[in-house]
Symmetry: C2
């Protein structure tokens, strides 16, 4: 009697819950410190002190109604102005406040822009492996998910594979850079190739094909690497950003949509997505947190801890014999399983290692290790990875 | 090329924006103090001091990751426990934490529960006059809005009118008590009549017909009036609550869904609505604010200011000759227009009075006065209402 799709999802969800409960069961039996839970992509470093200081300053400087009251559905004008100014460091074309919509995290922003763009029958391309919630978001608004595989081995975008999936119904492609689950950062030439192909396809079909650039890991990059700013290559770009990872604020649900001023129908998309923000029931991004991120706009993310985990895990696992993709961004290590992934994940669990199998990201034969965990846990877990290697290779 | 429904909504939205801009234009020309803007239902009283104090205490007592991190999609267990305990003052059946889902305001909660309940073709009954966003929320999830008129003159629920609209496709009815825009509080006998009829209809059609009880104004009642607790009359009830009005936190987007334990499929609805919360992109209600409302659960709303405005406006307007519904809750006065409502609203605007016409709530021949404004504005506006009366009666 309830919605059939959601009823089905409650059944699928039991599998995730089962894993979560298995983790708790193991922790109770063997002690939390003896369970190596690499399953969740939750920040493990505290928010910068500036977040706390900003909240206290705002509470003392502003009136209650200005802190907690309504504002336009797109968010406070001055906050959007600061974000536009910050984005303009990357771009030759100037964003203004009327290109920015404050949203309830990247998940909220993705739903807004998908509701705004999709008409029934429209297709949205996603690049596998990918964050599996994309399929739910697309389906919410009557869109069809079309999967293009990334390049074998390197996991960068495959312009060829994407090109094959484009047809007259293609409305947009979701690009996630730096990537969850692979940790890859798509380089400039990769973005440029994609852009050239899409520009041709736009001409061929006579309508825009938007890039929805999902960038919650934008600042979480290592070795001083640059993340290409897609609008510089392709004007029909909508950036979805969230402070969940960079300021460790995932529970606060705060992010933005940036609609490139030169994107086709840019103003119409801004107006429609602001209404979408309202009618989906977000109404506006949480008001206090809008003010907080405005004050913290220049705050550097704390990547030192993640970087250390990254190096230890990559070096140790490749030393053992695992084939890993070298992570350039985000906090995920993408590992090829030396046997069937189901068997691998089960054997890992026996050794108290909780890993997520690749098929959860629509790419079999891999596991994702979310290394947003304590450095102690990483060091202590290495012997378990060694035993696991022996167990599956003998 | 963008979503057709949203494109249409951008056109409709221009009318609202035009009114907002007209208000600004008048304010610039004649001074803000000479414009009587009764159009917006935004709280005008500050949040209780306890809100600020709670935020500061939480920041000093809790670790950053506990304040701003992820938690289950349904919200912090301890917060849901406190809310359940608080609800149990009203109910013989005990709510537990697994009947409560923290949501992104009432608008977020309504979208969650509608996505959870609606299958294509399902009908949702709303009672006119009603908050016009209901139609958007229902349409988001493929439902059909069916309008039943409330009783003439009293604007309480008409069991007869609702009964006529029920058929095999009826999935739920949205009840908003205290009511926006009429200010009416539906009394016990009214809720009881509705419940008896719905119980019969459930039997007749062999499936549940849920009451979605939208209660953001639950504590905003005057003269010590009681708001009936619907689950005591009708088990298939889901309460949607928000602290937007009671704690003046509309920008923070914090509320809950309470699924009555004895409602049919109660556990399934809880599980499905938690997933809905996730996949619509809310993910969870803002984390810091969850902790704040938990600490402020016993906080009394500040209704003194609203009550004073209510009395001045009702007494003065009826003295002048207007026919008004005596407001028992919320902060709205519902006034019969002595002439065509379009003419009335236009003439009001000439006198710098900004009112919302009844057709915006699917009920022609009325205006809504949102008296969540300063007491000075109310007193100063009376002469304009006098002139308006003269203008339309001569």
């Amino acid at each position: 009697m309830i919605n059939k799709r959601l009823e089905q999802l409650t059944k699928n969800n039991s599998a995730i819950r089962a894993m979560f409960e298995e983790g708790n069961r193991l922790a109770e039996k063997f002690g939390r410190e003896n369970v190596y839970d690499y399953s969740l992509g939750n920040p493990c470093v505290d928010s910068p002190e500036m977040v706390k200081d900003s909240i206290i300053d705002i509470l003392s400087e502003e009136k209650s109604l200005n802190i907690h009251g309504y504002m336009p559905n797109s968010g406070y004008h001055f906050v959007r102005e600061t974000i536009a100014r910050n984005l303009n460091k990357n771009s030759k074309i100037a964003y203004g406040p009327n290109n920015i919509i404050m949203v309830v995290g990247a998940a909220g922003g993705l739903n807004c822009i998908l509701q705004t763009l999709i008409n029934p029958g429209d297709e949205i391309i996603v690049v596998a492996p990918f964050f599996v919630e994309y399929t739910n978001y697309i389906e919410n608004w009557g869109g069809k998910t079309v999967i293009a595989q990334s390049e074998d081995d390197t996991f960068v975008l495959s312009t060829e594979n994407i090109k094959e999936k484009i047809n007259a119904n293609t409305k947009a492609i979701i690009v996630n850079n730096p990537n969850n689950p692979t940790g890859v950062v798509y380089p400039e030439e990769n973005i440029n190739d994609l852009s050239q192909m899409l520009l041709e396809k736009e001409k061929e079909y006579g309508h825009p094909i938007y890039i929805i650039s999902d960038e919650p890991y934008r600042e979480l990059v290592y070795d001083g690497r640059d993340v290409p700013f897609i609008p510089n290559f392709y004007p029909d770009t909508i950036i979805v950003y969230s402070w969940s990872k960079s300021l460790s604020l995932p529970g606060e649900r705060i992010g933005y949509l940036a609609i490139f001023p030169e994107a086709k129908d840019s103003t119409l998309i801004f107006n429609a997505a602001s209404i979408s923000n309202r009618i989906i029931g977000f109404v506006n991004a949480p008001s206090l947190m809008q003010r907080v991120v405005e004050r913290c706009i220049e705050c550097e993310p704390r990547i030192k801890e993640y970087d250390q985990n990254r190096k230890v895990l990559y070096n140790e696992l490749t030393r053992i014999g695992y084939k890993c993709t070298y992570p350039q961004g985000a906090f995920y290590l993408w590992v090829k399983t030396p046997c069937d992934e189901e068997v691998f994940v089960e054997k890992a669990k026996e050794l108290h290692l909780l890993l997520v199998k690749g098929s959860a990201f629509f790419k079999k034969g891999f596991v994702r290790i979310a290394y947003c965990v304590s450095d102690d846990m990483v060091v202590n877990s290495i012997h378990a990875f060694e035993k696991l290697w022996e167990a599956v290779n003998h």
